[in-house]
Amino acid sequence: MTHLTLYVTDDCCLCDSALALLAAARAPEFRSVFIDQDPALAATYGWRVPVLHDARDAQELDWPFDLAAVSAFVHRDPG
């Protein structure tokens, strides 16, 4: 089970940019959750997407992030 989740919405070009950065960082498997279908998630993340969430320690990486930031985030070891 993957610990990484990317919160996104439909038709969101920032989300596409985030996805391209995740690919460039060769991120391990992550889930994409489309928040538009969940009012609770929409309330939490609505204006923030794309947001990358690590379930191991509930750390989050908010947009805007660059390749270095996303790479460090997805390959870190929370210990």
Partner: protein, 615 residues
């Protein structure tokens, strides 16, 4: 289980019998099926074929499954090849010979069969040629064909969202088996991978697109495995065609039928059911659907040209059979001869006006035409090809939507949407016209850079030598239109339409030019023709309504607008992510239209036609 002494033997037998029967009924659950097609994928871009390249996900799939390094595509064009994959038929039998035609309504398709057997069906495609309006969505409960709106004109959709939506769709319902088809368009030109994925060497950008695609395929496979849980998962990965990358002076694909564009990788992966192995057997894309159905133990599709490879995948003999290959593109784009080829037992015969014969074993790049020396072999292959193609072929219509046709009839328009013309026999050999094709490529690239005057001068030059060149006529019409020379554009485009009455983009461009001239009734004729050719193209109906309105015919305009509204409402099929058609939110889905209603219909100038029709 412990057997207590004293229990009557008959009772023990009865209990054991019941257990055995229960065991028989407890069959393995039906597997999920994931079909991945990578557009424009050469086998030698993959690590497991070339020994280089950066494709760990596909390489792992190949290592764990049965991988064919050179499967044969029947046609180097996106929509016809995918129609072959999903129907098991050759283009001459399913009828889709070119992009832009419509998949016939009576053609049995793989997704139909799987849906009838309780499969949840969903497709996630990118690229203009596979848009719903061309009909390959039939039978899929969910069909996501969203393009990045900014890129639509280029027929390109490098949106990363679509396979993520595919992954989300896969995970929705674990009770039912699913059949998911995910189509990746990235390796199609232009090659623009993120720079982290560029590969060394002269084709680094192309190989980089493949590496980038591989990363996403890896993510998709992990999601599919996770969502499958204990249910088996059959993965089939292949491509619609390859890419020439300069071989035979062809840059992309579609124009010739050499192996550089006809060979594709094909991988079947089902641990425990398919023994791992790799080979160069010339299996075919038309074998894919028959094989999937056979592996699942379901009835075959009727009248397929392809054969099931299931026995071969289980360790038996592989059903390798001769391949018939074709491309109509030289004819439909330029008015030159279409090409047909017969590929059998290491030989390939190309039935061009000047025929070609290649010994593929010693000459895999097809550089030595042996037609003069190997007369008997040439005759044998030519005869086999002729026998196979003697029966009349099918040509799909460019539009098959009865409701739309009725609507047009009620508006008083008479049909143009009969099938695209079958090519006459006496056309020039495409290999003798390669220089003109290269000139036209220059013009095309100038058009894409919006250098319309430069493009127009190249096109004028081509037309001076070949006045009926259909490609040059259409593109010249578009260039003149963009230069604001609507009167000249109308003149050129009228010739284009008279040569190619079924070319949707010619109708579009002429309709646009006539609108700009204020010739609304005549423009309406063109929009009506376009609506018939591509009945699910909403902008055609929108523009028809607009033209009729301006021509002072509000009643008919309203009727056309009703058809536009019906189409827009129907777009809920490719609604918001992760929802099946039945659950789609109609409000959201209604937001998506091919072209936003513009205040001025004349703004609906077509994007470059080659891009729109895509390849």
């Amino acid at each position: 289980m412990k057997i207590r002494p004293g229990l009557p033997l008959a009772a023990i037998c009865a209990v054991l019998g019941l257990l055995a029967a229960a065991g028989c009924q407890r069959r393995e659950p039906a597997p999920n099926v994931l079909l991945i097609t990578v557009d424009t994928l050469r086998p030698d871009a993959l690590g497991f074929v070339a020994g280089r390249g950066d494709t760990p996900a596909i390489d792992a799939l190949a290592a764990g499954g049965r991988a064919f390094r050179g499967a044969v595509s029947p046609v180097p064009l996106t929509l016809p090849a995918h129609t072959s994959i999903l129907s098991g038929r050759l283009p001459r039998h399913h009828g889709v010979r070119d992009n832009g035609q419509t998949v016939p309504l009576d053609l049995p398709l793989l997704q139909d069969v799987l849906g009838r057997h309780g499969y949840r069906t969903g497709a996630f495609v990118s690229g203009f040629p596979l848009q719903t309006l061309f009909g390959l969505d039939r039978g899929f409960a969910h069909y996501d064909d969203r393009l990045d709106s900014g890129e639509e004109g280029l027929g390109r959709a490098p949106r990363r969202g679509h396979q993520r939506r595919g992954a989300a769709w896969i995970a929705q319902d674990r009770e039912r088996p699913w059949f998911g088809w995910v189509h990746f368009y990235d390796p199609h030109d232009p090659y623009e991978p993120p720079r982290e994925f560029w590969q060394p060497g002269p084709r680094g950008a192309y190989d980089g697109e493949v590496a980038y695609t591989d990363y996403w395929i890896g993510r998709l496979l992990e999601a599919a495995r996770e969502a499958s849980g204990s249910r088996p998962l059959l993965v089939v990965l292949t491509a619609d065609h390859g890419e020439a990358l300069g071989e035979h002076r062809e840059v992309t694909h579609g124009y010739f039928v050499y192996d550089s564009t006809m060979l594709v990788p094909l991988i079947f992966h089902w641990p425990g059911r398919i023994a791992p192995g790799q080979g160069d057997e010339a299996v075919q894309l038309i074998d894919v659907a028959p094989t999937i159905l056979d592996l699942l133990g379901l009835d075959p599709l009727p009248q397929t040209d392809g054969l099931s490879l299931a026995q071969g995948l289980a360790g038996g003999e592989l059903a390798v059979h001769p391949a018939l290959i074709e491309t109509w593109l030289p004819w439909t784009y330029y008015g030159w001869a279409p090409l047909t080829a017969w590929r059998d037992q290491g030989w390939k015969y190309i039935d061009a006006p000047k025929p070609e014969l290649y010994a593929l074993g010693p000459d895999p790049h097809e550089t030595q035409n042996r037609i003069a020396e190997e007369v008997a072999t040439g005759d044998r292959l030519h005869l086999a090809l002729t026998r196979y193609t003697e029966a009349p072929a099918r040509v799909a219509a460019t539009g098959e939507d009865p409701k739309a046709i009725d609507r047009l009839r009620s508006l008083g328009y008479v049909g143009v949407g009969s099938p695209v013309e079958a090519p006459p026999a006496d056309r020039p050999d495409p290999k003798d016209r390669i220089e003109i094709k290269e000139r036209l490529q220059v013009a095309e690239s100038l058009l894409r850079q919006h250098r319309f005057a430069d493009a127009q001068s190249v096109l004028t030059e081509v037309l001076a030598g070949e006045s009926d060149n259909r490609y040059a006529l259409l593109r010249s019409g578009v260039a003149l239109l963009r230069l604001g020379r609507a009167g000249e554009a109308v003149e050129v485009l009228r010739r284009s339409v008279s040569i190619e009455p079924h070319r949707a983009e010619a109708r579009f461009a002429l309709g646009d030019a006539l609108m700009r001239q204020g010739d609304y009734l005549d423009a309406a004729e063109q929009w009506a023709a376009l609506s018939e050719l591509q009945p699910r193209r909403a902008e055609a109906w929108y523009n028809l309504a607009e033209a009729l309105e301006r021509a002072g015919d509000p009643a008919r305009a309203q009727s056309a607008r009703a058809e536009y509204d019906r189409l827009k409402a129907g777009e809920s099929k490719s609604g918001p992510s992760g929802t099946d058609q039945s659950k789609a939110d109609p409000d959201k889905a209604g937001d998506r239209s091919a072209v936003p209603p513009a205040a001025d219909a004349a703004t609906a100038t077509p994007a470059p036609a080659a891009g729109r029709t895509g390849r």
